[in-house]
């Protein structure tokens, strides 16, 4: 076989292999809805505004109403959404905005339960940001509210809707990674986590993440999203958790740790090492699966496969895009690589075309408009949230926490 024949052969078989591995995945394609839908966003802080920005891009979505108890945030949100009605209380919105079919809850974590229960009672479909709650009790109540209603309810965890994560999962579940030997995740961002307000009286309420009575810390606020990646890939949940936390950088009187580490152990003896800090941004947020054949590194908008030297070569690798990380070469995990290569667009197409949030809210609205099951259920969100809360507790107490499987099952 000549080199040209070999490459053609590999290209064709590689393309076939890729297609076989990702049935039904139109990689990073625009969200297309079956009809129009009128929605509301409750909570117009950073996340609420991000949701509004992604909804604005989806054809057929009308953001009819927004709500925030903070007048400044409400005003700021209204400037970013075309022709929107504004409300300072979520009940008022639910009572008044009758044309709204679905609501997005992006309020502080500890307030999700009340808003969720009211929204479901009002007959709205609900997308609830994660973590779902700051206590296990609220978590279970939210799951019960979703179960007991005919509303379509989804949790705001984004891995299961993310095209790169879905693609990488097919590799994880194939022979590409082989025997799992370790797992690691981190969330690094240099930020204060402090929300200033033009109204000093509002500062305490806005800074709920730094309130030790209300906050689930880095493990809850950041870890929950990442723990679900491991749940999604493996279908397994941790059985015991240990952790440590401290204030390493932000010596501003806070009591909530700015730097944490935790070890989450699974029944099969595998271990997830988790670390997060607010004092450094190096390598941002990512998750890594280490296998005997390869490691998969996921960074929300990008994903890579790092192969062991003795791992078998697969056909699709010939046309794969590669990136160098010091002494390591990562194969970019992206679908349609051969097609992009033939169009000379592989370099520009190595990342996710839209932010992960776009696909998360898009999947929820597809479920609403097509009346189909959600991609990320409230139950799965409650499990991830519970693990986040328990990890936070392990860090606070310094004790090993045994995860009660019934707790997750009931969630």
């Amino acid at each position: 076989m000549t080199e040209t024949d070999r490459r053609t052969f590999l290209m064709q078989t590689g393309a076939l292999a890729a297609v076989a591995m990702m049935p039904g995945i139109a990689f990073g394609a625009d969200v297309e809805l079956n009809g129009e839908v009128s929605v509301a966003i409750i909570g117009m802080g950073r996340q609420g505004r991000a949701i509004a920005g992604e909804l604005q891009k989806i054809k057929g979505v009308k953001v009819a109403a927004i709500c925030d108890v903070d007048p400044g945030r409400l005003r700021s949100g209204a400037r970013r959404v075309a022709g929107v009605a504004t409300f300072e209380a979520h009940k008022q919105l639910l009572d008044t905005a009758k044309d709204v079919t679905a609501v997005f809850i992006a309020t502080p974590t500890h307030t999700h339960r009340a808003v969720m229960e009211d929204a479901v009672a009002a007959g709205k479909h609900v997308y609830c940001e994660a973590p779902l709650a700051s206590t296990i009790e609220d978590c279970q109540a939210i799951a019960a509210a979703a179960r007991g209603s005919s509303s379509i309810c989804a949790a705001g965890l984004l891995a299961r809707s993310n095209p790169i994560y879905k693609l990488a999962r097919t590799f994880f579940r194939s022979d590409s990674v082989r025997d799992l030997v370790a797992m690691r995740a981190q969330s690094n961002e240099k930020t204060t986590w402090r929300n200033p307000s033009s109204d000093p009286a509002r500062e305490k309420a806005l800074n709920w993440r730094l309130d030790s009575e209300l906050s689930t810390g880095l493990a809850g606020e950041m870890g929950t999203h990442q723990f679900d990646v491991f749940h999604y890939y493996r279908g397994k949940y941790p059985t015991s958790i240990q952790g440590h936390g401290s204030i390493q950088f932000h010596n501003d009187g806070r009591k909530v740790h700015d730097t944490i580490s935790a070890t989450l152990a699974f029944e099969d003896k595998s271990v997830l090492q988790y670390a997060a800090t607010l004092g450094n941004s190096y390598e941002g947020t990512h998750e890594v699966f280490y296998g005997s054949n390869a490691a998969i590194r996921l960074a929300w908008t990008h994903g890579w496969l790092f192969k062991e030297a003795d791992a078998p070569t697969q056909g699709w690798e010939v046309y794969a895009n590669r990136q160098q990380f010091h002494n390591e070469e990562g194969i970019t995990l992206i679908a349609d690589a051969t097609q992009l290569a033939s169009q000379g667009k592989l370099e520009s197409g190595v990342g996710l075309p839209n932010p992960p949030l776009y696909y998360g809210v898009g999947d929820f609205l597809k479920s609403v408009t097509e009346n189909t099951p959600v991609v990320t259920s409230i139950q799965e969100g409650a499990r991830a949230t519970a693990i986040g809360i328990l990890t936070h507790q392990a860090i606070l107490t310094g004790e090993t926490i045994t995860v009660d499987p019934n707790l997750l099952g009931d969630a």
């Binding site: 950073r46 505004r49 920005g53 604005q56 891009k57 054809k59 400044g72 209204a78 400037r79 970013r80 959404v81 075309a82 022709g83 930020t191 204060t192 402090r194 929300n195 200033p196 307000s197 033009s198 501003d252 000379g344 667009k345 520009s348 996710l352 075309p353 839209n354 932010p355 776009y358």
Partner: protein, 309 residues
């Protein structure tokens, strides 16, 4: 000690200096302000297929696209500068920039030559409905490029937020080419911005601009240059002709808004003079002794490091 924060966005580095008050609070307010910039970057990035700008570019040729107040306000300002500058500033210049090879992340299409894309450039092909607050392109192939104005717009939003949160002394710049000031450093009357003379010649005088509750922007061909048909050309094109604006070593605009200063500095570089319709609250600055034969790299420097805060 001043509180300094910085982020990388819009292909450059934004730096914010805050003075006066509790440093913990200043940092928190500063982070919030810089978030306005990262949000603008995400929304208006032409090179991100998932940006709001590209959603507009894809859809506005097919149907009117509803705009939020902020986007409408930005595009309305761009339309006004286009009119007042007699087309020297034009956000529909994208196809021309692409054809000239000036879009750094883009793959240039060989058959796209400047002459061929001229019909796809012109703000007259953009309809802004001021009542319905929608945008529509009346000609196929139109694409908006906010590269000459988004930085200033983002700085304006950040400044607005800083003021809303009670900040009285701050300087914010994006890539040292667009800056806005709130008040002045303690003990000084203004934030003094130095524009070195074009050739860094000891015989020529640097231009110093005092900023206090206003903004400025500078445009120069040397901001980024590429080789085209054996010649080095600058990154600012005259949208009316497709020619690179190479006559002046720089042009600067000072005024109440960083967005307008950003847009006008580009227009002034293209025009080479102050047009009659330029708003009276905007000041045009040109090099006093431009040496048109030997344009060398120069930078827009702030005096942050030397300021005694």
């Amino acid at each position: 000690m001043p509180t300094t924060l910085a982020i990388n966005a819009m292909g450059t580095r934004f730096e914010l200096v805050l003075a006066g008050g509790d440093p913990h609070r200043l940092r928190a307010v500063g982070e919030l302000a810089l978030r306005e910039i990262t949000e603008c970057h995400a929304r208006f990035n032409l090179f991100d297929p998932g940006s709001w700008l590209n959603t507009i570019n894809r859809r506005a040729g097919e149907e009117p696209v509803p705009l939020d107040d902020l986007t409408f306000q930005l595009l309305k300002a761009c339309q006004q500068v286009y009119t007042d500058s007699v087309g020297a500033f034009d956000i529909t210049v994208a196809p021309m920039m692409h054809a000239a090879g000036l879009h750094r992340y883009d793959v240039r299409d060989a058959e796209d030559e400047i002459d061929g894309v001229r019909s796809r450039v012109g703000m007259q092909h953009v309809q802004l409905d001021h009542i319905a607050k929608t945008i529509r392109f009346t000609r196929a192939g139109i694409a908006l490029d906010l590269g000459a104005v988004a930085k200033g717009f983002a700085i304006d939003l950040a400044v607005e937020l800083l003021i809303e949160h009670g900040i009285t002394r701050a300087l914010l710049h994006g890539g040292t080419s667009t800056a806005a000031a709130i008040g002045s450093p303690p003990g000084q009357d203004a934030w003094h911005i130095k524009l070195p003379n074009p050739n860094n010649s000891p015989d020529q005088i640097d231009t110093t601009i005092a900023l206090n509750d206003n903004a400025m922007s500078v445009s120069a061909p040397t901001g980024r240059m590429i080789e085209s048909q054996g010649q080095m050309i600058g990154h600012v094109l005259d949208p009316r002709t497709g020619e690179s604006a190479m006559t002046l070593p720089f042009a600067a605009a000072v005024g109440p808004s960083a967005c307008l200063a950003d847009a006008w500095s580009t227009a002034l570089l293209v025009l080479g003079h102050r047009p009659d319709a330029m708003p009276t609250d905007m000041r045009a600055i040109f090099p006093e002794q431009p040496d048109r034969e030997s344009i060398t790299t120069h930078t827009f420097k702030t005096t942050l490091e030397g300021a005694s805060l």
